[in-house]
């Protein structure tokens, strides 16, 4: 004999009540939490980016007088602007060489500490310090270090009897970019080191033990096991370093202001100068440079990750 069980329909939830479900919340709640962030994002990130794109197609004079010029800014930049191309050359050279040195140097430092160096903890802290310093501090200190007469570099050279190698490091167009690069590396090596060190410690000990039993000396271990297993981290670092250097502004501004003779001019400093230090005030042109440059950075990064990325996951 079957028993009928009547089910009563639950009352439908009144409109506006909190939504049932572990991860659900009412629209009002979400709006309250997310609202301020979205407002800031929309107003100060999303909108400005759109505006920059807009500006790049216009000539934007003082008092916001805007005239549409289409692709004129871009063609002008690409065909007639020698300074732009000089800046691009500087920035790309700086970035390509700097990024490789940056990541390799960080890895090297991390390996030194990983190889059970004494006082590793203390050294880690000391070596990380420049990362935390403002570009102003770092820049000024190194301007002094590079000084021709009383800077430490030349003083040491003289002291070593290598006085002939003295330079005006920041004053000579041939050395200025490299001098700035050294300073930049000095500031950032600690960052890469810390990340590489963390990655090294995350390597499974047993795999390294297996490598030892497989007749790997420290060099073979490094080349055949450690570096391949660190690949995702290293690629990450390369990308981060790349982006940071392509957008370089502060250090150049402080140390050389783009000089001598545009030897250290980067795209960022050029954008700034074009916007605020030019005889004619036109925000459209530098906006176009910014758009162009951002596109180039994105293209480069996509290319790099595609080339270097592993095909399968590196699970361990």
């Amino acid at each position: 004999m079957s028993v009928e069980i009547t089910r009563t329909q639950p009352n439908p939830a009144p409109a506006g009540a909190s939504i049932v479900g572990s991860r659900q919340a009412s629209r009002a709640t979400i709006a309250a939490f997310l609202g301020p962030a979205l407002v800031i994002y929309a107003g100060f990130i999303f909108y400005p980016v759109l505006r920059t794109f807009y500006n790049s197609l216009h000539s934007v004079g003082p008092m916001n007088v805007t005239t549409f010029v289409g692709a004129q800014n871009f063609t002008q930049i690409l065909t007639h602007d020698h300074t732009f191309w000089r800046a691009v050359g500087n920035t790309v050279t700086f970035t390509l060489i700097g990024t490789v040195l940056d990541v390799l140097g960080g890895l090297l430092l991390a390996l030194c500490l990983f190889a059970r160096a004494p006082f590793a903890r203390l050294l880690r802290v000391v070596w990380f310090t420049p990362v935390l310093m403002s570009y102003v501090v770092v820049g000024i200190i190194w301007v002094w270090l590079y000084d021709y007469d009383w800077g430490l570099i030349n003083t040491i050279l003289r002291w070593l009897g290598l006085g002939a190698l003295e330079q005006s490091w920041l004053g000579d167009p041939h050395t200025a970019l490299w001098a700035v690069l050294v300073t930049h590396l000095w500031k950032w090596l600690g960052f890469n080191m810390i990340i590489c060190l963390a990655a090294l410690y995350a390597l499974p000990e047993e795999v390294l033990g297996a490598a030892e039993l497989d007749a790997c000396g420290w060099f073979a271990k490094l080349v055949y096991i450690i570096i391949p297993m660190l690949r995702p981290t290293l690629i990450n670092l390369l990308v981060l370093s790349f982006i940071g250097k392509m957008m370089l502004f502060d250090l150049v501004w402080i140390m050389t202001d783009g000089g001598p003779l545009w030897a250290t001019e980067t795209v960022s400093t050029y954008v700034y100068k074009r916007a605020f230090n030019w005889n004619t005030f036109d925000l459209g042109y530098p906006s176009a440079i910014a758009v162009l440059w951002s596109a180039m950075i994105v293209a480069f990064v996509v290319l790099m990750t595609r080339l270097l990325r592993q095909r399968d996951r590196l699970e361990f």
Binding site: S22, R23, Q24, A25, T29, F33, L34, P36, A37, L38, I40, Y41, F44, I45, F46, P48, V49, R51, T52, N55, L109, A117, V125, V126, W127, F128, T129, P130, L132, M133, S134, Y135, V136, V137, I140, I141, W144, L145, W150, L152, T155, W186, F191, I195, A198, A199, L240, I243, M247, F249, D250, W253, I254, S268, A275, L283, I289, A290, W293, S294
Partner: protein
């Protein structure tokens, strides 16, 4: 046999040390290269400029501690310091509140478009500043916020929001959902849940972002230089540059200013080096 083994072992040990000597030398060298310049600036900050030019690398034997007072008042580093403190303090406070709320929302709730919002906000982390700064300049000008501390504060909040949300969301998402379910069943409102559960338990991450944001914004240069022109509104990095421009040869005073700028950072680093190191490298290790 044992003696031969013993000697063999001794040679091994010695070779080991030999192999380590270049390593040790390198360690010492790099430590000097890294820490030396700061030590030098510290020494110069309490020497007078003539003393420095006389002997650039000498010890600060008559130590002129009074230079700090001078720098504070006469060279206006005090003004710059306060400006920095106000701007950075307010920005960090706003970032913490706004960022943690947004992070909590993204971590806890599923709603249509949440993925999009997350991608949108986090993309701010890799946005080149050039794309933003010129338009930001225009916008602030339009709203009368150009050359004002509030304007800079808002700009700073916008630059660091993405990173703050990234770090906090990552942390909040790991909090067990059971906690929140239990709280709901106990009758807490959503805001109470945020205030009484997410924030207290997520304090380590929140603290990390506070310290990180402070240091990054304390050192910030580009936005400040674009968005501020008045001398009394200058933040510390700008103030130092301005001073350097006007008094390029007064190395002693510049050094004192540099020390004033470095001081809060070193202080934080001394107490929170672990947090700082971990925080700054968050997310970069796969």
């Amino acid at each position: 046999m044992a003696a031969r083994l013993g000697r063999h072992h001794a040679i091994e040990l010695w070779l080991g040390h030999l192999r380590r000597t270049p390593l040790l030398l390198f360690l010492i060298l790099y430590t000097v290269v890294t820490g030396g310049p700061f030590l030098w600036v510290a020494m110069m900050s309490i020497r007078t400029t003539p003393e420095i030019f006389n002997d650039p690398y000498g010890l600060p034997v008559p130590a002129h501690w009074g230079k700090f007072a001078d720098a504070w008042t006469i060279s206006k580093y005090g003004t710059y310091f306060w400006n920095s403190l106000i701007v950075v303090g307010c920005a960090v406070a706003l970032l913490t509140i706004i960022g943690s709320m947004a992070a909590h929302c993204l971590a806890r709730y599923r709603f249509r478009g949440s993925r999009f919002v997350r991608v949108a906000i986090l993309s701010g982390m890799i946005l080149p500043p050039q794309l933003l700064i010129l338009s930001l300049f225009q916008i602030l000008l339009q709203f009368g916020l150009y050359n004002s501390l509030p304007g800079l504060i808002i700009a700073y909040v916008s630059t660091q929001l993405a990173m703050t949300v990234y770090i906090l969301e990552g942390f909040f998402a790991q909090l067990p959902q059971d906690l929140f379910d239990a709280a709901r069943m106990d009758g807490y409102s959503e805001f109470e849940i945020f205030w009484r559960i997410t924030l207290p338990i997520g304090m380590p991450a929140v603290f990390t972002t506070i310290i990180l944001n402070f240091i990054i914004l304390w050192n910030e240069f580009l936005y400040a230089i674009v968005l501020l022109t008045d001398d009394d509104k200058r933040t510390l990095p700008l103030g130092i540059m301005h001073f350097m421009g006007a008094h390029q040869l007064d190395v002693g005073m510049i050094a004192t200013g540099l020390m004033i700028s470095i001081a809060p950072v070193i202080l934080m680093y001394a107490f929170f080096s672990d947090i700082l190191i971990k925080g700054m490298t968050a997310g970069a290790v796969r």
